[in-house]
Each structure stands twice: as structure tokens, then as C-alpha cells.
């Protein structure tokens, strides 16, 4: 299935990651570990990333409502849908694609700019991106993010995007790549493999 769902707009960015602001978590909104992309408008480039954090920012008005405890459903709807509830989604950059060329799993030449759109990748894009698994190393080496958890969520989501007959093979390939990268940290490897093991 395809889902060109706009999630939000880039607030701040660097080469290794960026943060997106959005108003409210929609029912189809992306989840932790999802593969997303930012199309750069000028040069037909896509930057791919992995969601590793979704943060609801503090709001004094919301804090006040919580303290009083008189939570009327209409006030909750007003806060969620009328007011700009600030939600920030943090994304780790894992690849890019220049024009129609192959996807490169690495850091892009330039980060996205403020107000560039963030879009959830559809199943075809997820399969295309995970044809190669070089990005696993980028994720495992990312500091100060829940890398293992994000990777597990991502691999499970990617496996679900494959047809039943190739899903097992995809997970085995991912497991082999992880074994190669984590051969000096067997405890870490074991905890990841247990969680992505095919059903």
C-alpha cells in the first residue's frame, strides 16, 4: 500500500539527523522505527531517515488543565485539534537518493532545510531501501539514541512490507549483517536477534 502522508515540517536539521514539528499525532502518523523521507524540492533528492523519538513538548496551558483535573472532552479536543500542540519527531539520517540513481546508505551531502516536508515511506520504498543493509551500521553506531530499539522496530516493519515468501529471507539477511557488525558484542547481538526472529 502507498501512503504519501505528510507528517510535518523540518524544524532544525544537521547532516546526521533532523527534527520535525507537527501539530498532533494523527491515527496514521508514523511510529517509532518507521522509515521516512524528506524530498528536497530543488534538486530531486530524497533524504531517508529513521524515527527514533517522538516528543510531546511541554505547554503551560496543558499543564494547568492537568493540575485542575477537570478534563472535559471538549477542552481536550480543543487542545489537541485547535491549539498548536507542539510535537517533535526526531529522525536519524540513514540514506539519500539523488534523482533516479540508486539509494545510497550513508550521510547526504546536505541536510534538509527548515520547512521541508517529512513523508512516511510506503511499502515499495521500504523494500527498495532495505535491499541493502549498510544502514544498520549507521544506526548501531549512532550515539545518544535508543539505536537497538529503533533498529528492531524498523526491521520488523520492513519485514512486514515484504511478501510472505521473501519475509523470512529478509530477516535472515538482516540477522547475518547484524552478526557481522556485532561480533564483538554477543550480548547485544543476542538481544536484537531474539526480537527480530521470524515467527
Amino acid at each position: 500500500m502507498t501512503s504519501a502522508l505528510t507528517i510535518g515540517w523540518v524544524l532544525r536539521a544537521s547532516t546526521v539527523g533532523f527534527t520535525v514539528g507537527c501539530r498532533v499525532l494523527q491515527p496514521n502518523a508514523p511510529q517509532f522505527g518507521d522509515l521516512v523521507k524528506v524530498p528536497l524540492p530543488d534538486d530531486n533528492t530524497n533524504i531517508f531517515g529513521l524515527i527514533y523519538n517522538v516528543q510531546v513538548q511541554d505547554d503551560p496551558a496543558v499543564r494547568q488543565l492537568i493540575l485542575t483535573g477537570e478534563m472535559e472532552p471538549e477542552a481536550v479536543l480543543d487542545q489537541r485539534e485547535n491549539r498548536l500542540v507542539p510535537i517533535e519527531i526526531s529522525v536519524l539520517v540513514v540514506g539519500y537518493q539523488l534523482g533516479k540513481t540508486d539509494i545510497v546508505q550513508g550521510l547526504p551531502p546536505q541536510p534538509p532545510l527548515s520547512l521541508d516536508m517529512l513523508i512516511l515511506c510506503d511499502d515499495a520504498e521500504l523494500r527498495a531501501f532495505t535491499k541493502r543493509l549498510d544502514y544498520l551500521r549507521l544506526v548501531l553506531n549512532a550515539a545518544q539514541i535508543p539505536a537497538d530499539e529503533a533498529l528492531i522496530a524498523n526491521l520488523r516493519r520492513a519485514a512486514a512490507a515484504y511478501p510472505q515468501e521473501t519475509r523470512y529471507q529478509f530477516l535472515v539477511s538482516a540477522g547475518r549483517e547484524l552478526a557481522r557488525l556485532l561480533n564483538s558484542d554477543l550480548v547485544r547481538l543476542d538481544s536484537i536477534l531474539r526480537r527480530i526472529k521470524p515467527e
Binding site: 496551558a61 488543565l65 477537570e70 472535559e72 471538549e74 477542552a75 479536543l77 480543543d78 485539534e81 485547535n82
Partner: protein, 402 residues
């Protein structure tokens, strides 16, 4: 830092001492005022006699006594929180403005209003609405026949009228879609503050405003003006009047209130959570037009808190057509408390209407930037006055900030 805080500190200590020293005397005066309230709670004839005498005394004087008059409810009584209808619609509006500034790049003013329709018991998202902001820049908007720049008071009056216009607009939309009672709320007093305007403008604006109150009245909605943390002393003025013998009611004595350090909020500190005071009508010069049009201003004090130990008193103004109907008054009373309890101490809809209307510093700067760009595009040379330019430069200097 330009304020020498080390020189302020001893004065702050002296202030604290003074407040503590005065408290016993103030408490004693408060007890006197409250015992007068109890004593005259139902002595309406005696109070009416004094009010009429005071009116006669001031007729020949320039001094205008401002105070409360009883309306038949026992003055010292506490009126319990009525039950609120499950479904009730509350509409609030608020406004803000950019005042004309002779030091800005050009003369203009801007009025922005916002409103919210909150339908209790509907499980629906409240509807917010911002009419098109009003940017006024034509010569006739800005100066009178003598070339005098429009005063901030007049802009404020225009804003107040715009707030009621938005209420009417929303009432017209909602009235067709709901069968529940509609409560409309304004932030502040119900009367237009025209005292700073020339007499003819006072009349014109009051007529415009009263026509809009007529429309609201004819729309079968309830109307209230919510005054948070009021400093009014209308009931204390009545108690002072009650304390005077008939032959002592003179202009001089009316001016000398023994309760001048108190407010009506102190007087009604006995109101429990959700309770209101008796309803009073407001006596003051300048309210004749409201009285003649059937909008005689009434008010009551209301403890919107639900915490016994932390009362939060507001003053609620209502027109006669709400005050004289106990059913509508109960709905308004209960609805305001229900609204205030969402935030803890202030009606939710008024807080949101303010948020929708407020013009932030950044927005004001953006408007000025747009103006500057447009003026340059038209071949003009926008510039701040030297005074404003230098104030901006120095005001932005971080090293002088705490």
C-alpha cells in the same frame, strides 16, 4: 541594568513591614464593614432612603457617587451553586490592538478579535473564529477635523465594539444549530469605557454599542462580563452610605470612605466554592443610556474556586434582562463556574479567546516589516523616529539585562 536593586531592597523590606503592621487595623475595618452588611442585609427601605438622599445631594455637585444598590436579595446571604445544564453553549470573544504610534514608520492602527464557541456536553471540538483583522490607515481613521491623532481610548472603544460584533456574528451562526442555552461572555465590564472621549463621541459610541446589546438581548442569549480579581468597591460604598445618618449624607462625607483600603472582594470573603453574592445594580453617572435601553447593569461576586482554602472571587456583570430572571441567572452562574473549573480559576473560553486575539510582539514586528517592504515598493522611505530608533538600539543591548 539601570534599576539599582540594592537601593530598592530596603524599601521592599519597609513595604513588607508596613503591610504586616497595617493588617490588624485592616482586619478590624473589614469586620465593621461585614457587620454593616449583615445589619442592613434586608433593610432595603433604609438603604433606598439613603440612596435617594445621596442622589439629591450630588445633583447639585460635580461629585458622582458610584456604588451598588440592592435588588431585593439579602445582601449578606450566600447563594449556592445551581446545577448546570448538561448541554450549554458558551461563546466568548476578546480583542487586541496595535495602537497608532507617532514614532513608528507610519501611522496606522490594527484591531484583531478572536472568539470561541464551546458546546458543553456535545463531545465536539470547540469552534474557533478569527474575523479579518482591521487595519486602519486612511486619514479619516487616524485624525479628527482638527488634525488630532486618534486617542488610544478611542481605539480601545472600537475594539470593545468589535468584540461584541464577533459575539453577535457567532450567535447568529450557532442559534440555528443548537437548542441548548447560549451564554455569551466578555472579558471585563459590560459598559463601554468612554469617559476619556469628547462628549459627542461618547454619545455616538454608546449608541452603537447599545444597539449591539439590543441585538444580543433579542437573540435570546445570556450575556455576562467577567472581571477577574476586581478592585471595585461598589458594595463598600453602599455600606459607607448605610453607616451615615441621613443628615450626615453630604458630598464631603461621601468622599471620605473609612473602607478605602478594602475592596468588595474582601467584603465577600465568606463566599464558599461556587457561591455567589446577592445581585446588586450599579449606580453611577453615565449609565442613563443603558438604563433607558433596558440594559441596567447588575453585578454579583462569584467564588469560582472549588477549593475551600483558596477562594477566587470574580465580579460578574449582567444586564437587567439576565439579572431579573432567576432561571437565566442560575444558568449563567453555573456555566461560569463550570468554565472556570476547567482551568482552575478563570473561564476557559475567555482564556482561549484571549489567546486567539492577542497580537504578540513578533506579530506586530511582522506587520511593521510588511508595511516597510510595501512602502519601499511604492517608492516611499519608511523610517522610525530618532527616538524610537535609539530606544530600540539600546533596548536590545543584552549586557544591560539581568
Amino acid at each position: 541594568m539601570t534599576l539599582e536593586l540594592n537601593q530598592v531592597a530596603p524599601q521592599v523590606r519597609a513595604m513588607g513591614r508596613s503591610l504586616a503592621e497595617q493588617k490588624p487595623a485592616w482586619d478590624e475595618t473589614l469586620q465593621t464593614a461585614q457587620s454593616l452588611l449583615r445589619q442592613y442585609s434586608t433593610q432595603f427601605t433604609a438603604l433606598d432612603d439613603r440612596l435617594q438622599h445621596a442622589e439629591r445631594v450630588q445633583q447639585s455637585q460635580r461629585f458622582g457617587w458610584v456604588g451598588a444598590a440592592p435588588t431585593g436579595e439579602a445582601l449578606a446571604e450566600r447563594y449556592a451553586l445551581p446545577s448546570c445544564p448538561e448541554q450549554v453553549t458558551v461563546i466568548a470573544s476578546d480583542g487586541s490592538q496595535i495602537l497608532p504610534d507617532q514614532h513608528a514608520i507610519t501611522l496606522y492602527y490594527l484591531i484583531n478579535t478572536g472568539s470561541i464557541v464551546y458546546q458543553h456536553g456535545s463531545n465536539r471540538k470547540p469552534e474557533t473564529y478569527n474575523p479579518k483583522p482591521l487595519l486602519c490607515f486612511e486619514l479619516e481613521d487616524l485624525v479628527d477635523e482638527q488634525g488630532r491623532l486618534i486617542s488610544p481610548s478611542e481605539v480601545n472603544v472600537k475594539r470593545d465594539i468589535a468584540e461584541v460584533e464577533v459575539l453577535i456574528d457567532r450567535v447568529n451562526v450557532i442559534n440555528h444549530n443548537t437548542t441548548s442555552s447560549i451564554v455569551t461572555l466578555l472579558d471585563g465590564q459590560l459598559t463601554l469605557r468612554v469617559i476619556d472621549l469628547p462628549f459627542d463621541q461618547q454619545q455616538t459610541y454608546q449608541d452603537q454599542y447599545i444597539a449591539k446589546l439590543n441585538t444580543l438581548s433579542e437573540s435570546n442569549v445570556l450575556l455576562g462580563g467577567y472581571i477577574d480579581r476586581p478592585r471595585s468597591t461598589f458594595v463598600l460604598a453602599l455600606m459607607h452610605l448605610a453607616s451615615l445618618e441621613m443628615n450626615s449624607i453630604t458630598e464631603e462625607n461621601l468622599r471620605l470612605s473609612p473602607f478605602r483600603h478594602l475592596t468588595d472582594r474582601d467584603l465577600f470573603n465568606f463566599l464558599g466554592p461556587g457561591e455567589r453574592s446577592a445581585i446588586f445594580s450599579l449606580k453611577a453617572k453615565g449609565l442613563d443610556k443603558y438604563n433607558q435601553a433596558g440594559h441596567t447593569i447588575h453585578f454579583f461576586y462569584l467564588n469560582v474556586s472549588k477549593n475551600e482554602t483558596m477562594p477566587h472571587l470574580a465580579r460578574v456583570e449582567v444586564p437587567a434582562w439576565v439579572a431579573t430572571n432567576s432561571l437565566t441567572l442560575d444558568i449563567l452562574h453555573a456555566t461560569i463556574v463550570r468554565q472556570a473549573r476547567i482551568t482552575g480559576s478563570y473561564p476557559y473560553v475567555l482564556a482561549r479567546a484571549h489567546e486567539l486575539a492577542i497580537i504578540s510582539t513578533e506579530e506586530r514586528e511582522a506587520v511593521e516589516m510588511m508595511l516597510a517592504i510595501e512602502m519601499r515598493r511604492q517608492g516611499l522611505s519608511p523610517s522610525l523616529s530618532p527616538k524610537q530608533f535609539n530606544k530600540t538600539l539600546l533596548g536590545n543591548r543584552e549586557s544591560f539585562k539581568l
